[in-house]
Assembly symmetry: C3
Homo-oligomer: 271 residues x 3
Amino acid sequence: MAARTITFLSDYGHDDEFVGVCHGVIRRVVPYAVVIDITHGIPPQDVRRGAIVLRSAVGFMPPGVHLAVVDPGVGTDRRALAIRCSGEQVLVGPDNGLLWPAAARLGRIEEAVDISDSPFRLQPMSATFQGRDLFAPVAAHLARGASLREAGDSIPPEDVARLDLPLARAGDGEVSTVVLYADRFGNVQLGAERAQMEKAGLKPGQAMMIESNGERHSARYGRAFAEAPAGHLLVYEDSSGAIAIAVNRGDAAASLQLEADDEVRLLRTEP
Amino acid sequence: MAARTITFLSDYGHDDEFVGVCHGVIRRVVPYAVVIDITHGIPPQDVRRGAIVLRSAVGFMPPGVHLAVVDPGVGTDRRALAIRCSGEQVLVGPDNGLLWPAAARLGRIEEAVDISDSPFRLQPMSATFQGRDLFAPVAAHLARGASLREAGDSIPPEDVARLDLPLARAGDGEVSTVVLYADRFGNVQLGAERAQMEKAGLKPGQAMMIESNGERHSARYGRAFAEAPAGHLLVYEDSSGAIAIAVNRGDAAASLQLEADDEVRLLRTEP
Amino acid sequence: MAARTITFLSDYGHDDEFVGVCHGVIRRVVPYAVVIDITHGIPPQDVRRGAIVLRSAVGFMPPGVHLAVVDPGVGTDRRALAIRCSGEQVLVGPDNGLLWPAAARLGRIEEAVDISDSPFRLQPMSATFQGRDLFAPVAAHLARGASLREAGDSIPPEDVARLDLPLARAGDGEVSTVVLYADRFGNVQLGAERAQMEKAGLKPGQAMMIESNGERHSARYGRAFAEAPAGHLLVYEDSSGAIAIAVNRGDAAASLQLEADDEVRLLRTEP
């Protein structure tokens, strides 16, 4: 009963049994562990979105083992990983960049192992559902107290696949960036942070412009949705620390027809 | 391990990490509490539907702390609440009417506190994700045994925002009401109860008519879906005690093109 | 705290409170039991898909009580069941074939009881939500240690409703089968297994053809998605042991416009 917490993120969705089967596999190893589903709503095979969401969520989770599976390369020779970061935080998943931003958020990678042939995997191991056969059981055994060295073969931490997120460019009175994704409420997260807004001279409380799809839209740069009138655009720092676009009591992604990777410019209009 | 049960209802959906992050925040305070997700499928910002569903579900939950977040006014000066009802039942959420019908169902409000500046909130507190920063941690601390007075500032119970649901009118041989919502199966819940049906002289087992969108449809007033032939309309008291419309082995909301707030008349055709 | 594990599968979806309410009912009986949601994404009233998914998942679950509700006949005189199979595995659900394939997978049915009037049911029992009022409380009491005989009236195991899944026909160089369903990733599960492929002389590693909707498509018979180039068709044995069709990094159900019950022929093209 002293097992560590396991968190779990994937692109498995809830229409099928994939998530439930992984829970079953975990519970056979550590019946009473706390297991937290971060989300399974990552769009299929969207490694970047999985990586961003994992990075954003991990700091709010109890320390423990963080299992993440968004794995378009399942069945290829891409490596499978377990990573130990500062503070005894452990990440388990495919070596395709998914784990990298969360690992960077948690601190230095102190140890990494290739778990592709882990003794904890289920056998026979399928070539199409390694969440069930490899990642979940390895995560469960690490949660019950196994060491990384028992789970796989040591690799140099610098060999872990990186994922570089799109960078915003800040100029005088202007931030150029791209859409990372839109959430359920239609709030649009951008690849920019407050530092770039400050560099461009954009100040909270000011009117500003959003340029996207060849059009300009008036917006307010604020903190809470209600700082814009109902139906109006708000640019704000979202709860994960990213600059985002919302419509107060509306859906910004639908209003501006924005989707992932669309270019967006944020423009100062007040001195 | 003696923490009280926490139930959790929201409009966060499962596409994003919002629900998972709240679970993480709760588990950092009360790792082994029982946490039950009532649903997170409330349509975005639909306070009325959240209130109806919470009221309907709460009687089937273990007693404890009931966390509910449907909060179009997040970041405004709307109050945030913890309420204690008879039987040591506690409700936590925004003061926008969401909690009112459930509180009325649970019995008298014995104590209410404004938790907007609760010492249990996470800091810095975002203006856009107070489920994570305010409501979840306050619910978790109340589940671990903190008192309402430790969580916030006392307010008079009569100051809690009410939510009045649409009332049905019962006349001779007729009940006039509105659609509250349709569920996954296309069953349509109305703002009427058995008492109004009785007052209008509508008796289970009888044929009757449904009038909506300017058309009349033959139906049976019964108890189980199978009392109507496959594909036919049934009016019945649903499992939450509301009068509802179904199509046996079909989808009544689609068949009758009904959505929330549409007017519906239920008409007696047999003596 | 010694309660047995409960797994739970249904067609309730996550938009409504149905799943959460069943969890509440279970937790009032066995607060600290491990409860695993296999999935609630079975399409409404699709007994066959529920049965296939339950059969495929149950072997990966901890032993215990397996609750399954896909119940188009709710409120009719269809029986409600609890079944005990070899190894003290228990299945609870409607007697409409839903439990049969899983029971066959778990081994011989050693005991069956009709729980329609179980003393463990909630009263008054609704005619429309027996997941809440009948199946969940019976499953919970069985998990806490009640015997089947306490839960209902003994019936002969051979009276349990069967569900026969579509059989594939294997001829020389050809397997004729039907689509069982497509999953979230667009992978299409067929009613065929490796034995039929072997009988037809189809060998992993070979090129082959898929015939459906009157057209033929080149494919590869392989093991992992990546054995087909991106965007190309792969026929493979999926993680549940069924023959399936995928598009590497794509959506086979959309590409081939396949849905449940569509006929598919798998054709050998190499000697």
